[in-house]
Symmetry: C2
Subunit: 338 residues, 2 copies
């Protein structure tokens, strides 16, 4: 089988959880001055001014925080630890170093596509820089010490975001979940723990980090992504073989609604965009998944508010979304010659 | 209130039921030779060759009969009386003279718009021609004799086809029905007796003909149509006042689906076309109801088969409908400058 990961794997993300021995874990760190010291430590190591923006979480608005979260640059826990938390975010949005989230330092690197090795290499580089003068808390037996035992050891979480419309629609994804669980993997919706699989997007990642080497973790995730990709592609082929016109009809209807509607809420938008994406990755449309995914992120509530230059009500957002997305989709020329 | 009948009244139809004293009523007329005599009588009076096509019902295919019925040119009863029935249909489809339907002669005249007087005048002209040498069965007390007592007297049925989306969606049409019934009127779906109101189209007509003059019948129907039109327009205004964007959104979505889908069944097509029509009559689109109604008729099953030049399965029709209607709607330029 000729496997095209591009049609299934959206992006790769690796994060490392790290802590300093001289400070209590963030959930017990009440002293804001001490918390700021950690930010300053990282700032001096990163020499951040050139490539990073630094956000003190208690200095930015709820709106801005929501905007960053929607772009996968910060987490719910970072927002929850607001009096003490901060984030260094690279201007190209590939690197995010969160301070005083669950751990003192959460470094993450992000790339489009299926790039586990490359992403791991790059985040290790960042990790080396940060730990140069102040070494992280490390136990010879357990490895890196973390606030939650599931992160002990390597502190590594490798996540791959996958677009799985065929496995979702056939409900086969439900059958695959236990098998993945048994291999030490978890599957989540695109906005992390507990979030539902909106837009038929799933995040595959390793469950625990203790007792495995970095290499082992990467291999387990990599193999799982390969298997799921093949599984998804096989089901897509079957879907098209059995009812190509039905898949086409669904994709074109979604396109027709998205380019004509006058208001659309976030949920319906996701559902229809998923149909358009399936059209793009199966050659029904002339387009690529990446620009469609960018549009999906841009149309989330806080991202719309930022585009608009001020907060909108849900109804106003629905109108803004319809107009903006309609124009964006037309400009992508998905129907080129179709 | 400035009443625009064009936005509500689709067409006007008047029919006259007539019989000859020397022949049994069609339901007892088993002699095909005698039945043909009636056809010949009418043919000689109509001097039909110039403007009419003559269809002997037993000589045309089921497909052709269904096609004519979908275009409102013949009735279910005419098809049921197939061994003895026939129809003269004018080439512009405005006049249809059915022979050996429920009565020996059913003459009907049809015009777009709200034209009760004009249509009655024209069908009376046809009636005068037909009855010139062989007078119809007429009783000084009862008037014209007919097979069914509801047609006794004038034999006149005046019907007005109305597009009532606002009254349908608010369910107010249900409340209006008993009031109309009390005034001797009936309301039916567009395909006659017992048919449901597809596409939010209703046929308003007089229930009985005995005991009323032609003038009285026309007036009762006319007044009812006026009242319902005002009622419908008031509800449309209210709908637009309360949620203009919602009405717009619905119309545009319907347009988006119709111009993009790859297959669509008759029922969904009707529903969406109704949304587009509402858009056209309320100025959301730049189009007129007449061309949309013509498209609706053209997309009925037997009409599609005729356009295609041969019978199609339901699935093939759904595909044909999607492609043909999509092109037709685009060519109407409904979105002109919108």
């Amino acid at each position: 089988m000729n496997v095209s990961y591009d049609a299934v794997v959206v992006s790769t993300r690796v994060r490392l959880a790290r802590n300093f021995a001289d400070y209590p874990f963030p959930n017990r760190l009440k002293d804001v001055k001490k918390a700021r010291e950690i930010v300053q430590l990282i700032a001096s190591e990163l020499n951040y001014m050139d490539t990073f923006d630094l956000y003190y979480m208690n200095a930015i608005s709820d709106e801005r925080a929501a905007f960053l979260k929607e772009r996968y640059l910060i987490s719910k826990d970072l927002i929850a630890h607001r009096p003490i938390s901060a984030a260094f975010i690279s201007r190209d949005e590939s690197i995010s170093v969160m301070i005083n989230e669950e751990d003192h330092v959460r470094e993450q690197y992000f790339l489009k596509g299926f790039e586990l090795r490359k992403v791991y290499e790059r985040i290790s580089g960042i990790d080396d820089i940060i730990s140069e003068s102040i070494p992280f808390a490390f136990d010879p037996e357990f490895g890196y010490l973390t606030a939650c035992p599931t992160n002990l050891g390597t502190g590594l979480r490798a996540s791959v975001m996958m677009f799985l419309p065929a496995l979702t629609r056939t409900n086969l994804i439900r059958r695959a979940l236990p098998a993945l669980s048994g291999r030490g993997l978890t599957v989540r919706g695109q906005y992390g723990e507990g979030s539902v699989a909106e837009g038929e997007m799933y995040q595959i990642s390793n469950e625990v980090t203790l007792g495995y080497s970095e290499e082992e973790i990467l291999s387990v995730v990599e193999n799982a992504v390969r298997t799921i990709t093949e599984f998804e592609l096989r089901e897509r082929e079957k879907m098209l073989r059995e009812d190509e016109l039905g898949v086409k009809d669904k994709a074109f209807r979604a396109y027709g609604i998205l380019t004509n509607c006058k208001r659309i809420d976030a949920q319906e938008f996701m559902t229809l965009m998923s149909d358009v994406k399936l059209g793009a990755v199966t050659g029904i449309f002339d387009g690529n998944m990446e620009e469609l995914d960018q549009l999906i992120v841009a149309m989330r509530p806080a991202n719309i508010n930022r585009l608009n230059g001020g907060p909108l009500t849900a109804e106003e957002q629905a109108i803004y979304r319809a107009e903006y997305a309609g124009k964006a989709l037309r400009s992508m020329e998905l129907l080129n010659g179709r």
